[in-house]
Amino acid sequence: MKLSLAIAIGKAMGWLSRITKRGSGVMVTGRIILKLVPTAVSELSRNRKIVLISGTNGKSTTTSLIYHALATKSAVASNFTGANLFAGITAALGQNRSASVAALEVDEMVMPWAIEETKPRLIVLLNLGRDQLDRLSEVRMVALKWKQSLALLPSYCAVFADADDPFVTWAARDCVNVIWFTAGAIGHIDASTCPECGVILNWSADKSTYSCECGFRKPNPEWILRGSELSGPNNQQINVRSAIPGAAALGNAARAIVVAKTFGIDISAASDAIAKVSSVDGRFGKLKIGQTNFRLMLSKNPASWRETLTTSASGPKAVALVVNANAQDGKDTSWLWDVDFTPLAGRTVVATGERRLDLSARLTVNNIAHRIAVDEKDAAKILGAQEADLIASYTAFHRLAKKADR
């Protein structure tokens, strides 16, 4: 079947799914296109400049920032609303066929396929950490999949990789064309052994670098982010601005600037566009429940909870935490015990979500005074008329984000 016909059918079915309120329609569109033309992604990628973005945390935000930076020059196809599996990628490429550029968020496990099909010019690798322990059991296994796939890259494809993360370094270090980045992250909760040889990895006392007796070590980065100052290989000094709060967001804004530069975009135009993005797919969106004005934040795994708790610490005094354990959240809640909730001390804390008792037990042992609410409405009753952060795990976040002001 001809690709354009498949896309037309896919879009029609997606529209039908949307108006019958079965879903956003994106997945349906993508699935149908792929079903009718299995080579659709490869065909839709031809003659386009494509950047793929993957990693455990920060995919959607980084993709969105890259999209806005690239869009200052030309039309861009993108899927930064988080549909990052086969169908979502297909739909994004099919929706906007005239765009000569595409910025695609890709699930970690889908990377080998996406690389093979889209033949990207640039691959952005953010980080690899544990996420949904009951499904992805070994971080190193994911890193190995990346490594095998990246080893086959042609030299015209550059890899822009985070040198702070030993798993990313290991996956990317054999690539011909790799650009290293550091934002000065300290340590890695899952990298106690060397990904290359398995013996204990030596971390420097300040946890800023790592090395192993086998020769595996942190590479020297070309791009370095210190605070909000980004310095590049040719003495570039760029002040990074972000309307999204937190150190992670600043790191992602810096990455987007480097990607923009690689794609030949004017840096100041890209920086301005990046600095205007204040919310991605509901993250940091506003939602009023009862009398409480919530700011929505997403936390998916120990690394992202740490990040979010730090960002939230400079926010309002009140905070509601929502923990679920559905398939998309990960059914195993033991990660709660790997998160130090101390940044919440002294704040007004409400624990809710389907696994509020697990959360409450954790907070109790962490000496964080809190109350338990059955749901966010109940939490709002407890909190009353004030500003509050609402930090939610995956399924709760996406349910609430649909109602939020972006």
């Binding site: 033991s334 709660l336 008792l357 962490n366």
Partner: protein
């Protein structure tokens, strides 16, 4: 006398929130005003061999092998046992204490030989909620398991519990974990002590005798909710 709790190699064996069990044990002692200290032993630290209670958690392949090598040095774990220490071991930590355990590429690693068990590579991972009828006098046990290995006894031994739901040791044993004079081990990982406050107190009692009841309803509520969620 101050009680000493030792978390062995948390960076290597701590994948599933295992530090939680140490924190919970410490918290339960503190609530009762029982003086104690907690020591985290890293890969380059000397292992104290005359402490009271030891915790050994779960971990991935390479970490498990690295941990085995460290724990084997100077016969540290044997000394701990000889000195009267008690060990709570979970998942990879449970396997390490046996005669052998499996690793990637079909390797079989020699264990520390403390427990009369051997662990074989399972055909598929056992992942999910687990429920046990304990062989000791405490309430039904609730946990989450996530392991590829399956463990069998090489000698007559007492399991921690009979499996009501889930897999546990596997190999058709219908049981989970083991209880010996000085070791309590299980495949219930991470916050096993959070869900099972009676198990936490039972482990602490092994060293310090009868404990007064603790008024901390959240743990009882969590236990009951988890048990009910499976039935």
């Amino acid at each position: 006398m101050t009680l000493t709790l030792v978390h062995l190699l948390p960076e290597l064996l701590g994948t599933y929130g295992d530090r939680g069990n140490v924190e919970i044990a410490s918290w339960r002692l503190r609530q009762r005003g029982i003086a104690h200290e907690v020591i985290n032993v890293g890969a380059n630290d000397r292992i104290p061999v005359s402490a009271d209670l030891y915790f050994l958690g779960g971990g991935e392949d390479d970490a498990q092998i690295a941990a085995r090598e460290i724990l084997e040095r100077d016969g540290a774990v044997r000394k701990i046992i000889n000195n009267g220490g008690h060990i709570f071991a979970v998942c990879a930590g449970f396997q390490i204490l046996g005669a052998s355990f499996p690793a990637s590429q079909n390797r079989t690693m020699i264990g520390l030989g403390i427990l009369p068990i051997e662990t074989l590579a399972g055909a598929q991972r056992s992942v999910g909620e687990i429920l046990l009828k304990p062989t000791i006098d405490i309430a039904t046990l609730s946990g989450f398991e996530n392991h590829a290995g399956q463990t069998r006894f090489l000698d007559e031994a007492q399991p921690l519990g009979a499996v009501i739901h889930g897999v546990g040791n596997g190999l058709e044993a219908g049981a989970d974990g083991i209880i010996t004079d000085q070791v309590l081990a299980t495949y219930m990982h991470g916050p096993a002590f959070a869900r099972n406050p009676e198990l936490a107190d039972w482990f602490l009692s092994r060293k310090i005798g009868v404990l007064e009841k603790l008024d901390a309803p959240i743990f009882q509520q969590l236990h009951d909710e988890r048990v009910a969620s499976v039935k």
